[in-house]
Assembly symmetry: D3
Homo-oligomer: 168 residues x 6
Amino acid sequence: MKRGFYIGRFQPYHNGHQAVLEGIAEEVDEIIIGVGSAQLSHDMQNPFTAGERVLMITRALEEIGCPFYVIPIEDLRRNALWVAHVTSMTPPFDICYTSNPLVIQLFREASISIKSPPMYLRETLSGTAIRQKMLLGEEWEQCVPPAVVEVILEIDGVSRLRTISETD
Amino acid sequence: MKRGFYIGRFQPYHNGHQAVLEGIAEEVDEIIIGVGSAQLSHDMQNPFTAGERVLMITRALEEIGCPFYVIPIEDLRRNALWVAHVTSMTPPFDICYTSNPLVIQLFREASISIKSPPMYLRETLSGTAIRQKMLLGEEWEQCVPPAVVEVILEIDGVSRLRTISETD
Amino acid sequence: MKRGFYIGRFQPYHNGHQAVLEGIAEEVDEIIIGVGSAQLSHDMQNPFTAGERVLMITRALEEIGCPFYVIPIEDLRRNALWVAHVTSMTPPFDICYTSNPLVIQLFREASISIKSPPMYLRETLSGTAIRQKMLLGEEWEQCVPPAVVEVILEIDGVSRLRTISETD
Amino acid sequence: MKRGFYIGRFQPYHNGHQAVLEGIAEEVDEIIIGVGSAQLSHDMQNPFTAGERVLMITRALEEIGCPFYVIPIEDLRRNALWVAHVTSMTPPFDICYTSNPLVIQLFREASISIKSPPMYLRETLSGTAIRQKMLLGEEWEQCVPPAVVEVILEIDGVSRLRTISETD
Amino acid sequence: MKRGFYIGRFQPYHNGHQAVLEGIAEEVDEIIIGVGSAQLSHDMQNPFTAGERVLMITRALEEIGCPFYVIPIEDLRRNALWVAHVTSMTPPFDICYTSNPLVIQLFREASISIKSPPMYLRETLSGTAIRQKMLLGEEWEQCVPPAVVEVILEIDGVSRLRTISETD
Amino acid sequence: MKRGFYIGRFQPYHNGHQAVLEGIAEEVDEIIIGVGSAQLSHDMQNPFTAGERVLMITRALEEIGCPFYVIPIEDLRRNALWVAHVTSMTPPFDICYTSNPLVIQLFREASISIKSPPMYLRETLSGTAIRQKMLLGEEWEQCVPPAVVEVILEIDGVSRLRTISETD
């Protein structure tokens, strides 16, 4: 049994995440997906709640053919404790898939294996770029799995993002 | 689509929980299981980490035939905010299954539907009773699903509980 | 201008508090009332929210004839910082009216004047005793100012207390 | 009985706030004023403590002819819980007066009525502009009610702001 | 270079602690003393502040002939993160001296060496027993190093303990 | 007995700090060194843990000839409570040595004596400048005491800083 861990903020979950996870699914027996900054929502960088993000991810991965766990992870704001925090909230895992330099350094100091997955169309497929499209009224739907479009429509997510982007 | 929410501390997850969830599985389309007091572990009432409990529950429910989410929920120590906390961490749900009077009151004030599931062998099947058996060296394995026995053995959980129960 | 500070949990605000405040009103120009443990509600010792307690106190003091402030004070769980916490949340005051030994010690170490007001019918007039009457269905209404009865009826407070007192 | 809620940081309370509250006073029976970011003080954007701000507001509203509550509200840094936090700290209210897009979105999702009051001389009457005048030694006194001038002089507030604005 | 870690609440620091540390001093090159529950003070179990306890310990160890560090450690209330918290606040160490079962279990799971030092007159030399003597007006001075007597007299510690032990 | 307090983040501890402390050592009987933002580490402005910084300082001051305490101080994010927080974590002191305007203002409001020590080669000797040298591969070793070079090499600190400075 080999378990891999992958963490992101998923604001929103998009095709780049999906591509990475499809790659991981071929290397491990089970995937643990950490939903980072779980306590944040309703702000410009973090419009969606942890629960909404759990829903997006679970829906999008229904056909991935590899068992997975989706776990909200609240920020701790104490880097030296972060690995212990993550491992206390998740089933045990053997490898962490990440390209984030801080996550790499923290797991390295904890002697946990790390692998940097290839990025998929990084420039256009990023949460920042997709939220920008939503704000400008551009096409964002083709950047995320169809199940994510459904969730965002259901919660009226684009309208939420636009309202909180206004200035008073 | 109807989603039901069920919360417990699951220290450990046992056959009583399993029976309740099998009942709920027949009434809803998806189940959300909240793992309460997620931040607690390694104490007499809460020996297991949230991640270990997520693992127990997921393993035990593999055959339940109803999609489910397992979500760690950290305590907030502010009852008036607890429903908002829970709903921010979970996909939207239609009904809360609980027999806990405080949970009933808090969801009632938030106008969320509540249903109290029948308890299954409450006196013998409780976390407290099972942890007591573990401490006394009595048979506890028949009180929990086989998958939970495996998880507890793998993490050497009984030994952990016994060590922290000693006095210095 | 002389301001006096008085703190309690006011679960609920009762005739004993009212009698003490009527006494203080004759000694100072303005009264600051701190609503302690403001973050607690919906538990057996703290059934009412800070906002509900602010409402009870304000209504009951309408005719006291002395300007007053009602300020929720969240617990800090760090005694050495508590006086600084209180004074940051309140207008400046000259004297603290209290009979609580910890509050006396903390203000004394901060060189703030203290006066212990006479207690009024302490045995029968206490939050504990009144909550007990509510649970047992005994007459509690004569223990609190009429305005407090109204607030508790309006929020269905007795029913809330009874529900959370049940065992599951 | 109709209660209206109005929130701000009030760093400091100024004539723009006063004008808005005078307008609200004609539409409701009671006003609840939330003093936001109550835990902040002694920084460039938040020089005054919650208690000092409570004092400014209370003094300035003495003649408003409408009962009011002034309630410090500490930041929660969790937007999804913020409405529950506010409502737990305040008496119940029917309408929220605000022009802040995030507050609008959060109350809207909680199905609470919102009304955006007309702004009064927004460009010159803002906390930022007034703090800038204090730093530059310009006339700021005519931007705030006379009672606020008195409070700021009493606590030597301009000197505090200037000291913390220095670089070491 | 071998460093040993020893943790306690030291309410107050007494001859039993001193005897243990004198033993450790012969086994390591440097000692790290963690002052646990550093955030607590002014309560019946924790009358002294972290700073007062740092002073007691430093004074009492002046002649121990082994370099030492005295580090306040605030409680985290999350056992799974506690070892990471401790190691982030202290210089690196090779061995933990403790008889506390929870500390043993947590360091064991982190693969850090543990050694249980012999206890010295445990029944009479305990913080609980010494605080009890202080309350009852019995002789407590011979239970602690002379330097600790001085610190407690200087801060009027016995009077503080007695005041907070009163009932209102 | 006169004690002086000096606080910094010490990221890392450098020759400027050393020069200031050598000056203070001639004016007081004991020095208390507060290690600020103790909870931060592994970020660009705060690469080192509190424990690593305690080690740097203690090593570097071995020959200073004045007793000293090194105390980690976690941030409180509430300026009005900060002085009470500091004084609860440290032995009592008579004077605070600081050039930080906020620290000056907070201690001044608490009526504690302040003295601004002369800065030593401020432009080149700053944590920011030294961290920049580490990132660029320039000579940083001559900016810190030899004992600090040893600690940073031992923990592979430069490599840590470089890794977390990368972009993903």
